[in-house]
Amino acid sequence: MLSNLRQLFRYRALVQTLVVRELKARYRGSVLGYFWSFVNPLLLLLVFSFVFTEIMPRGDDVNVEPYAVFMFCGLLPWTWFSSSLMDAANALIVNGNLIKKVMFPAEILPVVSVISNMVHFLFGMPILIGFLIYNSVELHPSELVWFPVVVAVQFILTLGLAMVLSALTVHFRDIKDLLSNLLTLWMFASPIIYPMSFLSARAKGFMDLNPFAHLAISYQEIFFYPGPFGHWKWLLALAFAGSALFLVGYWLFDRLRDSFAEEV
C-alpha cells in the first residue's frame, strides 16, 4: 500500500499532464471555453432562484439572503463532488486503451478525475467571490483559513469514493446509470439549495449521516453564516472517515487491479 502511494507520487508529472489534458479538452471545442465554469453555475442559480421565489416561496422565518452566495457555497463543491464521481466511474472504461496497452498505473485515472474537477471547482470560485463582493459580505480571516482544510477533507473523501466506483464499474457496468440517479437524490438530500434551518429536527438527525451535508455546511459557515467556524468537530470526524474510506477504496482498487486489463 505504501509503495503504491509512493508510486502515485512518482507519477505526479503524469497526473499533472493528464489533468491539464482534461481541462484543455473540456474548454476546447466550445465557444465560451473557460467561461462555462461561470455560465453553468449562473444558469443553475437562475433556475433555483426562480423555483424558490416563484414556485414555492420560502417562509419568512427562513432567511437565506443573499441567496446566490448561499447557494454557490453548496453548489460549487457539489459539482466538484458529483462530476468527480461520474468521471471516475467512467475513467477506466474510457481510457481502456491506456490500461491495456501502456505501462500505466490505473489509479492515476480516478485521481485525475478528482483533481481535474477540483481545478474546475477552483476556477469557479471567482463567481462566488464576485457575489461576495457584490453583496459586500464581510469575511473573517479566522474563518477563511478553514477553506483549504475543507477542500482537503472533501478531496480525500471524494478520492476514496472515486477509487471504489472506478474499480467496481469495470465489473458492473450499470453503476454509471445508478450513480447519476443516486447523485440527483443525494443533491436534494443535502443542504445545498435550502438551509439546514429549513428542516425539521428529525430530518436534521438524518442529515448528520450525510457526509456531503457537513462539507456544504462548512463552506456555508465560512462564506455565508456570520460568526466563528463552529463545524470543525464534524469536519475532523469526516477527515478521519474520508481517510479510512480512501484506504479501503485503494485496497479494493489494488485487489481488482489485475482484472482491469482483461475486463475493460
Partner: protein
Amino acid sequence: MAAIEIDHVTKIYRRHGHSRRYATLKSALLTGSLAKDLRPEESFLALNDMSATIRKGVTYGVIGRNGSGKSTLLKLVAGITKPTTGTVRVNGRVSALIELGAGFHPEISGRENVFINGVMLGLSRREITKRFDEIVEFAEMEDFIDAPVKTYSSGMYMRLGFAVAINVDPDVLLVDEVLAVGDEGFSLKCLDKFSEFKRRGKTILLVTHGLSMVERFCDEALWIDAGKKRLVGDPKRVVQMYLSDVELAEDLLLAAQDAKAQQTPVSPAPEVVAVEPVEAAREPDIVQEPEPESEPEPEATSNAESEDDDAQPDDMFVAKEGRWGSGGVRIDQVTLEGDHGPAHVFHTGERLTIRMQVHAPIEVDDFAFGISIFSNDGVCCYGTNTHIEEMKSKSLQGDASVSFVIDQLDLVGGTYKLDVAAHKRDGFSYDYHRLLYTFRVKSRTKDVGIYRPRHEWNFSDNVEFKPDTGGSSDLALDDQAPAADSDSDASASATVAEPAEPTE
C-alpha cells in the same frame, strides 16, 4: 549483460463472470453474488513456464501462431501486466511500440498531445521540448502539428505516435507489429530507425508475423507455441522450423479435407458401383461415341458423364468436385507423396508422386488412367492420361497400383486441386474423381502465374546487384533455403536448386 531476463514466467488470464458479458450491480445485489462476481471463474494459460534471456544489444524476434502468447510476453516485458508466477527483469528504459498514440486526446492539438504522450512514455517535459522538432520532423507533421488530433487521418495519427515512441530513446525497444505505419517511404524510415538503434547497441524485442523481418533484422529468434518455448536460436533456423511446422499443420488440414472428399458418394447412383460393374459398363445408352485421340482426357470424360446427367454442365472448367463412374475399375485410394512419404504441402521444384490404389472386380482390357491439375481458381494447369500418351491397355484385374510421378513440380506457390480418373479409351468413366484432392505448393519467391519454367538471369558485367541480404531479388537462394534447411535430405535441396541451373 542481460537486458531482459524472463525467469520461469507463467501468465494465467482470468475471466470474470463468464456467463454474462457484463455483470450488473443490480443483479449482483439482488442475488447476493457480489463477492462471487468479483472472483475469477475461468482461467486461460497464456504463458507456461517461459524462460528467456535477451542479451544487451541483441535484436530478438518472437514468432508464433496467433494466440501463442507473443503479445502477452511483450506486455509482461513492458510491465503492462504482471506475471502470475516467475519474474521479468528489464534493465534500462523501456519503450513499447504496442499502441501508437495511446492517450492522444482528439480535442487538443498534436503539439500538446506529443507532450502528453511523451510524459506517459516516461519522458520529462524538458526532454520532450528538446526532442520536439525531431519528433515532428520524423512524423512529417510540420504543417499539422497545431491542429487538433481529431482532424488527423489514421496514418498521421500513427506516424505521430510512432515518432514519439521512437524518440523516447529507450534502452529496450519493444515492437509489436507496428511497421505497417504510413506509406512506403515512412516504413523505410522506420526500418532505418531500427537499424540505427541496433547500431547504437540498443536491445530490440520484436514480435511479428513478418518472418522475413525476423530473418533480416534479428540476431536471435524465439518461437513460442501455445505459451511454451519451442525453439530459440539462429533466426534463419528458427523461422525454417516454424515454417515447416506451419506446413505440417496445413498438411493435416488438407489431409482432413481430402479424407472428407474421399467419402463423397459416387455421383450417378451409388448402386451402379454395387451392381455387376461389367454389366453397367455394357449399357449401350451411356456409351459415348469414341473421341478423337487428340482430345485431352478430362474433357472427354466430362462429356461422357454429361450423357447420363443433364444437370451436369458441359464445361469442365466450372465443374464442381464430385465422383462418378460405372465402377468397372475403382480408384480406392489416392495419396500424394513427396520425398518423405505422404504430404499435402510441397515446395516448388520438389518431386510429387500421385499414387492410386485401383481395383478391377472383373478383368478389363479397355482402360486408361488420367490425372489433371487445376489451380485454385479453376484453371487447368495440366491434364493427361495413359491413352493420349499412347499406352495401349491390355489387361487389368484385381488390386493394382498406379503412380504418376512429377519429377519437379514447377508450379508457382498456391493451392491446387487434382482430378484422377480411370476410364475407357473412349472416355467412358469407370471412376472419375473430380477435384477431390488438394495440395499446396509453397514458394519463397513471389513470382506469379501458374507455371514456373526453370530459368536463370544473365547480365553483362556492368549490371550489378548488391550481395544477397534475404531480399526477393535472388530466386535461387530464396528458393533453396527452405528445402535445404527443413529437409535433411540432400537430394531435396538439390532438386530445388536445379531450376537455377543453366538450361540452355
